[in-house]
């Protein structure tokens, strides 16, 4: 199977910066492995970020799929070029970059360069995860479901996708220690990966065609209700209550899955893994809650809210969504005290809120791309710091220190001032970057 060179060039030209950052991060991880020989840092799920997740970002703009289909290239050629990018090339890239980092560290005196067996295992496991994510992408809902089957398939795919994205961040941290557990997990992943790879090979054209289909519910829709419900909250109160409710639901689901996964894998819960475990739901839920709000900035700014109120809203929403995590956590104490003890770290939660608000400010002030890069990079950095603390026997625990909470508050203050500046003076943030049409089509 020959990939289409023009499509390959186009994909890599647009995402070179993600690959560059990925390369640096992976080489760093490889070097880290050479120093610590810790399997828990190997980026098995990280490949998904350089494949299916990037492709999903591409295809989320409906017009991209339409443009691709209008090219004088066979549909199967387009689909399979993306299959190669997502499943094969990305796995090779991840393995290669990690190996290079490990080799350089070994040349500089580190003791544990990755051997061929470990590299091969990383290659096929990364490929397997990539294939599962690509197959999931082909089933992700792209319009309102027309029947129960579509609803169930879309819902299930959405759940797997969300968990897959989450696992890409944190799964390597919880890679089991025992050889038997490792073999079982490897076997399951490999089997699921092979099946997914074959299925995705056949479905990647469907993924493109489906995304060009018009949205349902246009002119020939059935009669709807026009009656408004009275009572209940409205305005900002409604938004905050809704955000809080959603964050509780997400948090319950996410903590349950994290807890279950770690128990099944026999993964360690300690001060090295906990920063990721705590920060991941904070970041993930906050991203889920808040990015859609950013797409509605133009609408929010046209409402009778002052710039200060809007800047505060962008602090209140993450705080409210993280309160959801905070409140659902004690539920797990009922059946797992150890989990609760490690999870319930208030200073780190405050820091998490501050950090996330600062990411939002970054997005507002210097662009979404850099904000997202910050989100992606900060979890490994904090994890590394926590691990170094363990390796170097430093007693200061960043998860419980009041300095961590103080730093979080400082970040909140900085984020507020920066938000205010962007809301008042950056007209760019009100452009419709995220939604279906471009302003330029219609003038102004």
């Amino acid at each position: 199977m020959q990939p289409n060179i023009l499509l390959l060039k186009d994909f890599y030209r647009r995402w070179w910066w993600a690959y560059l950052l990925g390369f640096l991060a992976l080489a760093g991880v490889g070097a880290g492995y050479a120093v610590s020989k810790s399997h828990s840092i190997l980026p098995i799920g990280g490949g998904a970020f350089l494949s299916a997740i990037l492709l999903a970002s591409d295809l989320n703009f409906r017009t991209n799929a339409r443009t691709l289909l209008s090219l004088p290239v066979r549909l199967t050629e387009i689909g399979r070029t993306y299959w190669l990018i997502c499943v094969l090339y990305s796995a090779l890239f991840v393995t290669g970059a990690t190996a290079l980092g490990s080799m350089i560290a070994a040349l500089l005196g580190a003791k544990h360069a990755l051997d061929t067996g470990e590299l091969f295992r990383m290659l096929y496991l990364t490929g397997a995860v990539n294939a599962i994510m690509l197959l999931t992408l082909t089933y992700l809902p792209h319009r309102q479901p027309e029947n129960t089957t579509e609803q169930l398939t879309g819902g299930f795919a959405g759940m797997v996708w969300g968990l897959g994205v989450g696992a890409s961040f944190s799964a390597p941290m919880f890679w089991p220690r025992s050889a038997q557990s490792q073999q079982s997990i490897t076997g399951i992943l490999l089997l699921a990966g092979v099946i997914s790879a074959i299925a995705a090979w056949h479905r990647c054209t469907v993924m493109l065609v489906n995304r060009t289909a018009p949205a349902a519910g246009t002119t020939s829709k059935k009669a709807s209700s026009y009656s408004l419900s009275t009572g209940g909250f409205s305005g900002l109160r409604w938004l905050l209550v809704r955000t809080f409710g959603q964050s509780i639901c997400f948090s319950l689901l996410m903590q349950f899955v994290l807890h279950l996964t770690m128990r099944l894998m026999g993964a360690p819960i300690n001060s090295a893994t906990m920063p990721t475990l705590i920060l991941f739901p904070v970041l993930f839920i906050s991203v889920l809650m808040l990015l859609p709000n950013m797409t509605a900035l133009r609408h929010l700014r046209s409402l009778p809210l002052s710039a200060k109120q809007l800047a505060l809203l962008f602090l209140a929403l993450p705080a409210v969504s993280i309160m959801g995590i905070f409140l659902t956590t004690p539920l797990y104490m009922l059946f797992d005290r150890e989990f609760f003890t490690h999870f319930f770290k208030l200073p780190l939660l405050v820091f998490g809120i501050g950090m996330f608000c600062l990411f939002l400010s970054l997005m507002l002030n210097i662009g979404v791309k850099w904000g997202m890069i910050g989100v992606v990079l900060v979890v490994p950095v904090i994890t590394m710091l926590a691990m170094l603390r363990q390796v170097l026997h430093i007693s200061w625990d960043i998860t419980t220190s009041p300095y961590t909470a103080f730093l979080g508050l400082v970040l909140l203050l900085v984020a507020y001032c920066w938000n205010l500046h962007a809301i008042r003076s950056r007209s760019k943030i009100y452009l419709p970057h995220f939604h279906l049409m471009g302003r330029n089509q219609f003038g102004g």
């Binding site: 709807s224 209700s225 408004l228 900002l236 109160r237 509605a296 003038g443």
Partner: protein
């Protein structure tokens, strides 16, 4: 009649575009057509008014209130519609309504239901699956349902079919007639603007070229076919815009307010025909000039 909106000396500099200095006056109760070619600065002007970016200079007042100092009070008077508004985060139509109604004490549920019926948008419909035209209709519903004293419509007819466009303008006319409402409509649908706007401003390259009563502006200009030995010199004269040239024969847009008739004679131009202009002819000729 006092003015609903006054803009004086508004400037905003971007690396590739400069808005202004721009003056614009919208009398209370008027339907003001704000027209101009793509990239002229219409949306930028509206954005500055709504606080989406900081002007580099100038003064904007809405009903006598400063748009920065009194931004909340100003926005409590303005209903805003644009194809760039994104409501998808609210999920369903009913949620978007529930959110927006909380900001406006004058929100009228009955009127909202009437608008929902008229535009055939159900409260339980998912916003993500609405067609583009339906999303504009939703923006209109959210802006009209609280009967704002000032309505700003930035390209409201984009994506609307002829029936929906007719319904929109009928609704606008009705609401303006009943309630002393001011409407600014920035649109490329010039036929509609000509029919409904009683005042208009024509903006090009960030500058206001023309502003006045619609009927007066249309009456002020005529399209004249003439023969001239110096058509290039003709177009340099104030009040004359060369629309078309074929050798010595040319078609010029003549501003009757200026002393253009004399200019024509002075350059030896012999008028052969003269006709009134439509807003579209006026727009296209000025935009190309």
């Amino acid at each position: 009649m006092s003015n609903a909106i006054e803009i004086h000396g508004l400037t905003k500099n971007y690396s590739q575009f400069q808005l202004g200095p721009l003056d614009l006056t919208v009398p209370r109760g008027a339907i003001y057509g704000f027209v101009g070619p793509n990239g002229a600065g219409k949306t930028t002007t509206i954005d500055m008014l709504l606080g989406m970016g900081q002007p580099d200079g100038g003064l904007i007042t809405v009903d006598g209130l400063d748009h920065v100092r009194d931004e909340v009070a100003v926005k409590q008077m303005i209903g805003y519609v644009s194809p760039d508004l994104n409501f998808q985060m609210w999920g369903k139509v009913g949620n978007a309504i529930r959110f927006v109604k909380g900001f406006h004490a004058t929100w009228d549920d009955r009127h909202c239901e009437h608008l929902l019926k008229m535009f055939r948008i159900g409260v339980d419909e998912k916003i993500a699956t609405l067609s583009f035209g339906s999303k504009i209709k939703l923006a209109l519903i959210l802006a009209l349902a609280w009967r704002p004293p000032i309505l700003i419509l930035d390209e409201p007819t984009v994506g609307l079919d002829a029936v929906a466009r007719h319904e929109l303008f009928s609704e606008l006319l009705e609401s303006v007639g009943q309630e002393d409402r001011t409407v600014i409509i920035s649109s490329h649908a010039l036929a509609d603007v000509e029919r409904f706007a009683d005042r208009m401003g024509f903006i090009k390259n960030g500058r206001m070229l023309l502003e006045g009563e619609t009927a007066e502006l249309i009456q002020r200009y005529r399209m004249v076919d003439c023969q001239s030995n110096e058509p290039q010199r003709l177009k340099q004269q104030p009040g004359i815009v060369l629309a078309k040239q074929d050798g010595q024969r040319c078609r010029v847009l003549v501003d009757r307010g200026e002393d253009s008739g004399n200019w024509l004679k002075q350059f030896g131009a012999q008028p052969t025909a003269s006709a009134p202009v439509t807003l579209e002819e006026l727009f296209v000729t000025l935009a190309k000039a």
